[in-house]
Symmetry: C2
Subunit: 170 residues, 2 copies
DNA sequence: ATGAGTGCAAAAAGTTTGCACCGCT
DNA sequence: AGCGGTGCAAACTTTTTGCACTCAT
């Protein structure tokens, strides 16, 4: 995954830390920010990379402080984090749901390479405008979107590439 | 699912029937259009509705002529149909891949209602142009895209709706 | 004879859930 | 006492695969 700053990319106001924001959301649902959930949020927001449930479980299992979290708890937390608007599912990869941060991170879409799986983020303001426009003409209240552009990244589309592979994750 | 004709929507040339097109593709792969595959293509192209593997299996099981096809064969055929460019995966619904016809059917995207699940198709030529442009600036060879716009359809966004529900498919 | 194709049942793989125990973020 | 939360293992879903047999698009 590669992230590229784009001039004019909208910035996002963050007043609460992800953990606090999550705590607030949980409170509205009559739930608590437990030690486990806090650990998960910390781990999730420690990186801006895309990830799936399995990778997150792996990262959590490698923590040196003793804050372990079970797989079930991770799955349950991912659902809540998504509902809370802190994460969003961006795609499917290797038959797994792929998540990315959706809090304190500007909206963007992805170019996904069919060959190496690389996900290139991009932001295009016209896109949002068009989507709004389309919604309007259909009386549809747009709340969000997900755009995956599939094709070949520059490395993989070069005929004599030195194999830009990585799709074969054991 | 609702389809609406949009002025200026690109038409698509169909010279071969879906079955013939599939036969041609299969030939290039050293495979044959068997009775089972023909039955599947016929069933798939009998409707323009979105569908998932399970629904297709169900439809096939209800045929009155004795042309039954096993579930495995359906899954295998869906993959080939996708590779052949006759079908494409458009979304996930109820944890299942959702397919739609991609042959003899103009390119389009979807507005998906979060409440009732309705999928409204639309086509916007500017969108394709922007996507091409974005790809170009990233040296990315665009082969296709998938855009899901989530929100509330007009019926569901009316405060005093008479419930436009249908998301509860057992 | 050849080799792709099929159906069945079993296996994968990701995700969800029942349940007993825990602990007060 | 109350109740949400956790971990574990079992269950569940969708999809894939091994295999023996079939069939000839």
């Amino acid at each position: 995954m590669s992230f590229e700053d784009v001039p004019g990319l909208p910035s996002v106001e963050i007043t609460l830390s992800p953990a606090d924001r999550f705590r607030e959301y949980l409170a509205t649902q009559g739930m608590r920010l437990t030690q486990e959930r806090a650990t998960i949020v910390e781990e999730v927001f420690a990186s801006h990379e895309h990830f799936d449930a399995d990778q997150l479980v792996l990262r959590l299992s490698q923590r040196t402080d003793g804050r372990r979290v079970s797989r079930s708890t991770v799955y349950r937390a991912l659902t809540w984090l998504e509902n809370a608007g802190l994460l969003r599912k961006v795609a499917r990869n290797n038959d797994r749901d792929v998540y990315e941060l959706d809090y304190g991170y500007p909206a963007h879409d992805h170019l996904i390479c069919k060959r190496c799986g690389d996900m290139i983020e991009f932001y295009n303001p016209e896109l949002a405008a068009i989507i709004e426009e389309v919604g309007r003409t259909h009386g549809f209240r747009v709340e969000g979107h997900r755009l995956e552009v599939k094709g070949l990244c520059s490395a993989c589309s070069r005929p004599n590439r030195k194999s830009h592979r990585k799709l074969d994750m054991i």
